[in-house]
């Protein structure tokens, strides 16, 4: 059996582990367009993408970037092709064509190509000092650019997760940052207004300027160096570094013009298989089931990518496992404030019940969203302890009618849950709830 995996991050690595659990013999080949990095002469052959902001902010050193150790590929007997892009799929021949025309035949293929930064239409994007921020190379390039150009001011386009993590990293490097966000607040995709306001205030306290309801239309530069940006309303901001972080979209380039069905991402069934037999997809490039919305959509988060990679790997290796679905969630610490958001955090429409407690002074916010007495979403700012219990309730769709009033209490815990469910959780006993 020849397994070919495109992508060497969360989805790809999880798939390797799953395949090797079931199939010790098959050949596994992993293709990645990421280069090999050398740290003090030692090669690192994978890294954790979410860590790039930590690297930029000098909270993590390069040697801490690998997600799996050096021996991972050797131990799992994986052939690794780095620094090479898969350019074409030949479905009839069951081949992946690599840049440089090398052809790789496969019996089972996993596409875990991840996401791509969305590039908005801005004039002057090609001037120096303009970066996206999704890869290790971006972090290193930005760092070099800052050093050589002695950057003091930067503009971050986009107040989403990537934009804010980039901002935080830049502020660590004592650079003054202006965030320009199209929406009326930061983190509008996952947070509600109160949660956003806490982060906005914290950013403000740290000296970061936030411009909302606005966007960059042009980047002015001289001698291949950015000097400033012009906003939609004509306002000018001087900055020698511009980070474009308006979002990511599934990387589906490879399957374009193939019979593999796509929407925003590559469409997969409950077994992570595409509409073409033996071709699977996982991670940020695919569109799998959203457990809460009960529809398919890309959920570009790490845990979902790992789970999808794992399930895809199992299915590729012949162990039939179903993907239970996932839902949006994230945990981010911004300006020293830990935050967690899960599920439907900003419900619109009827039938929702919202429980919340908000202590702006201490930056503490807790919000629970219920629908038909089931928890469907939650936001935690500052006080995130035991947030996973709520995530569990969302996942298991537990009827919360009997303990609803305890949800926001200080001492909320498993003890607040119905005894049968608690016992089931703790002892793994079968529970009827």
């Amino acid at each position: 059996m020849r397994y070919v995996l495109i992508g060497n991050s969360a989805g790809g690595i999880a798939a390797i582990e799953a395949i090797r659990e079931c199939d010790k013999k098959g050949e596994i080949t992993v293709i990645s367009d990421e280069p090999r990095i050398f740290v003090r002469g030692k090669p690192h052959i994978n890294y954790s993408r979410p860590l790039i902001s930590y690297l930029l902010g000098e909270k993590v050193t390069l040697d801490k970037m690998p997600y799996r150790g050096e021996d991972f590929y050797k131990d799992n007997r994986v052939e690794l092709i780095l620094n090479r892009k898969a350019t074409k799929l030949n479905l009839k021949k069951k081949e992946v064509v690599l840049a440089g025309d090398r052809k790789l035949p496969f019996d089972k293929l996993l596409i875990a190509a991840g996401g791509m930064p969305v590039i908005p239409e801005i004039k002057g994007l090609n001037s120096g000092g303009v970066f996206t921020f999704t890869r290790l190379a971006d972090a290193r390039n930005i760092k070099n650019y800052i050093r050589t150009n002695k950057v003091k001011e930067a503009v971050v386009v986009g107040g989403g997760l990537i934009g804010l993590k980039a901002t935080e990293a830049l502020m660590e490097l004592k650079i003054k940052v202006v965030i320009v966000e199209l929406a009326d607040r930061v983190l509008s995709a996952t947070f509600d207004k109160k949660a956003s306001s806490i982060i906005e205030n914290a950013l403000g306290r740290k000296g970061c300027e936030l411009i909302t309801n606005n966007t960059v239309v042009e980047i002015k530069g001289k001698n291949k160096r950015a000097e400033g940006v012009i906003l939609k309303d004509g306002k000018k901001i001087s900055a020698s570094l511009v980070i474009v972080a308006v979002g990511v979209r599934p990387n589906i380039e490879l399957v374009k013009n193939t019979p593999i069905k796509t929407n925003k991402g590559i469409l997969v069934d409950a077994f992570l298989q595409t509409n073409i037999k033996d071709i699977y997809a996982a991670g940020d490039c695919c569109e799998a089931e959203d457990l809460l919305l009960e529809m398919k959509r890309p959920i570009a988060i790490w845990p979902a990518a790992v789970r999808q990679g794992k399930i895809a790997g199992f299915n590729m290796a012949g162990a039939r496992k179903e993907y239970p679905g996932s839902f949006a969630m994230n945990s981010v610490e911004l300006c020293g404030i830990p935050t967690i958001s899960v599920g439907e955090t900003y419900p619109e429409g009827k039938g929702y019940q919202v429980l919340e407690c908000f202590d702006q002074k201490n930056s503490v916010y807790k919000k629970i969203v219920l629908k038909n007495n089931k928890v469907v979403g939650a936001i935690f700012v500052s006080d995130i302890e035991r947030a996973g219990i709520y995530t569990g309730l969302i996942k298991d769709k537990v009827d919360a009618a009997s303990f609803k009033e305890h949800l926001l209490k200080e001492d909320f815990g498993l003890i607040s849950l119905p005894k049968e469910y608690r016992k089931h959780l703790v002892a793994g006993e079968v529970a009827v709830i």
Binding site: S48, P50, P303, M329, I340, T391, I415, S416, V426, A427
Partner: protein, 148 residues
Amino acid sequence: MVKRIYIREEYCMGCRLCEVHCLVQHSKTKNIIKAYKGEYPKPIPRIIVEEKGYVSFALQCRHCEDAPCLEACITGAMYRDKKTGAVLCDEDKCIGCWMCIMVCPFGVISRNIEGKKIASKCDLCVGEEVPVCVKNCPNEAIVCEEEK
């Protein structure tokens, strides 16, 4: 054979001795008096005791077979020990992003923000024959048994 910790809430007295011994086990000196009186930052226990009315129970990492924290960990710090089956956190690698806290349905991973931010969780007392919470529970409300 993987051993698992089972909790028997009907016999938990709520004394929290498990917490005390867990804290000591994860202190620098492993000496109960020094751990409480001489170590700064004060070590934190990795076991949680929940109490409501007369019901109480201790809870620590279940070392789930299908552990969501393993999947959620972005650094690869969370790993399963091949020998014991325990889910452990490589504190050197952990950056304190709290993804694991977000997904742990038992709420048994906590933030250790004294010094470097790291996720703090039960490690089944690596090196000990029996985890100290089990060994020191005066009423056998925490027991370590081979997986049922």
